[in-house]
Symmetry: C2
Subunit: 225 residues, 2 copies
Amino acid sequence: MENLNRYAPVLEKSPLFSGVSRQDLFSILGCLDPVLKKYPKNNYILLLGESISHIGIVLKGTVQLFKESQEGNKNILLTLHPGELFLEAQVCAGLEQSGVTIYAKTDAAVLWIDFHHIMKNCSSLCGFHTKVIENMVGTIARKNLELNQKLEILSQNTIREKLLTYLSKEQEKQKTNPFTIPYNRNELAEYLSVNRSALSRELSALQKEGLLTYHKDQFQLYFLP
Amino acid sequence: MENLNRYAPVLEKSPLFSGVSRQDLFSILGCLDPVLKKYPKNNYILLLGESISHIGIVLKGTVQLFKESQEGNKNILLTLHPGELFLEAQVCAGLEQSGVTIYAKTDAAVLWIDFHHIMKNCSSLCGFHTKVIENMVGTIARKNLELNQKLEILSQNTIREKLLTYLSKEQEKQKTNPFTIPYNRNELAEYLSVNRSALSRELSALQKEGLLTYHKDQFQLYFLP
DNA sequence: AAAATAACGTTGCATTTGCAACAAAAAGGA
DNA sequence: TCCTTTTTGTTGCAAATGCAACGTTATTTT
């Protein structure tokens, strides 16, 4: 548990513990029986098909979720940063095996918490537990809305429309106009499920037409979303 | 509350109350302070932008969720039947205004339950509450996985792959081999976000190649998923 | 039954996209 | 600094897709 002290700032700002004071945080953690694990850069955290019973909290580093097809193609589903949860939907839905692959893009640390420990009220800490459960529901619900947004992007039928939909949403989220996206070209192409060179082609066409400018992962839009 | 008696069978089989006996059901309902409302055929249940604080349970009729674009195009997101929940993700995520329009396709009845009443344990009924909360989390989490499945389908890059992915999943779900899909061609094309005639073209190609046979909404697969 | 409507399949053509190969630019290492 | 590796842009070509128009088959209505 002492090891966890250094991650207290991350845990405090984690959506799972939002609204919980640092003191209460450690009371709750003592009750949730969490497991801290560390993963070196470019190592797998969880493989497709492995059994799952715990939800994960990223404490350090960048963690990516992939969907692998039988042919071995990898498709980025999510990129996670410290404080964020993963596997919570699968575990809460009662899945027993992972349908995704999880990967440490940088050196990473993950806190694993058994789902049943979260849902079962222990007698002494009901108040805290209620808050944690509420936070977990909220987290899953927000992820739900995010998935809906990605569906909206992927259901556009041209690369141009996918790009404009994605960039608009990203710009609205960040509320600044030159803004930075969290993907390089390859990753963006994977995220949008399109060919990388076709994506580059479309980007320069959009720039030529004056709809936007970009450099690397910096974008500026010249149209109203 | 008496009015609710006639809807007990629907409520019992609703995912929100699964595993709850009829007796307990009414205890819980007394504590959740639900509001029953009826809507005539072809009337709006909720407009875009209206404030939301309650989750809905369809008690009777067919209810449709629409996404409206700025241009006014309406896009069916979901068609709901008795027992099913709606707005649960939006409300649990803390959204205060609706991003969708909801509509009574037939005469309908809806039970509205304040989200905060679900999450706040009342002193006397903790056991029931825990079950209801668990059900709600599970429902949102499963919807989450469904969205992930649709994302997997839409992230395939050819119509052929989208079709085969969709049909495989549908076949596995139904576990019978000549099986029936819930869409006609137009709806299937919309679901897969592809052109209808291109879809037909691909279907007959697949049939010609012996991978499957079909007639209307009946499909039979000749490959192992 | 006849007529009208809707659903589905087919096809030619224009556009979009994927693919591959290569060039240019940027980043990282020795 | 120089060299290597990675990232990004460019382009020709083939394949896939959207689009539109039309014919056929099912379904519904009168």
